[in-house]
Symmetry: C2
């Protein structure tokens, strides 16, 4: 991810989105934050896909740099950094939901059919319900 | 992309979607097909982001293997393969549209403001209009 606009491969919005989160891991971290309510490095690392430690550390750093998540010392244990999504991160929910629906439609997945039906029939309220679980001042 | 379901990193639909198109290039090829009406290797190669030839060839192959695009000898020049999206590929339009809207909202992009307004105010008709440019039997 380049530091200034001039460094993007192009100014196409899709290209910029892909430069920010177009890889095989970044959105899984966001999934863990948004749906599994994970918030720590250790929790992300234990997620099902077996992310390598260096990749996880790199992606968390980039997500913070891009303003998609914030990290703060845990109030319970200052050695632990607790991450949460910002408004910019929560606004990726529509992207994530459309990806889930597409995969559930075309691939054999472990997605619970009832959840997929809910997501599909009423995307807006599914997204609103997910947002509501985070503080309104998440940004 | 694994050959059988058992080879996915996990059966989470988001993970499977990312294993299929979670990289910095695949959706740009789809963008070129869907919005720029590009259809040939040479056209994709000339797109603004400067994709390397080996990456382009690899991604086209994977898109065909995944049933997202099809390739056929051009009727005008049999040396040229002409690609088009399948129904499964057209069904990625909602993902692409949400990514464009997110980037246009949070980053400085070259997206025409009028197009973004149209996409944002009426996603469904924007998607329907884009679909309509392709044959109904695109699958």
């Amino acid at each position: 991810m380049p530091a200034s606009m001039a460094d993007w491969r192009s100014q196409c919005p899709l290209n910029i989105a892909l430069e920010i989160f177009g890889d095989r891991w970044t959105l899984l971290i966001l999934r863990d934050l948004l749906f599994k309510r994970f918030s720590t490095y250790r929790e992300f690392q234990g997620s099902g896909e077996g992310v390598a430690t260096n990749i996880l550390a790199d992606r968390l750093k980039k997500l913070v740099e891009q303003g998609i998540i914030t990290g703060a010392r845990s109030t319970e244990d200052a050695r632990i950094i607790s991450y949460k999504p910002t408004a910019k991160g929560l606004d990726l929910l529509p992207v994530v939901v459309e990806m889930i629906l597409w995969a559930a439609r075309y691939e054999k997945t472990a997605a619970p059919p009832r959840l997929i039906r809910h997501m599909s029939r009423d995307r807006a309220s599914f997204i609103a319900e997910t947002r509501a679980r985070f503080e309104p001042d998440a940004s």
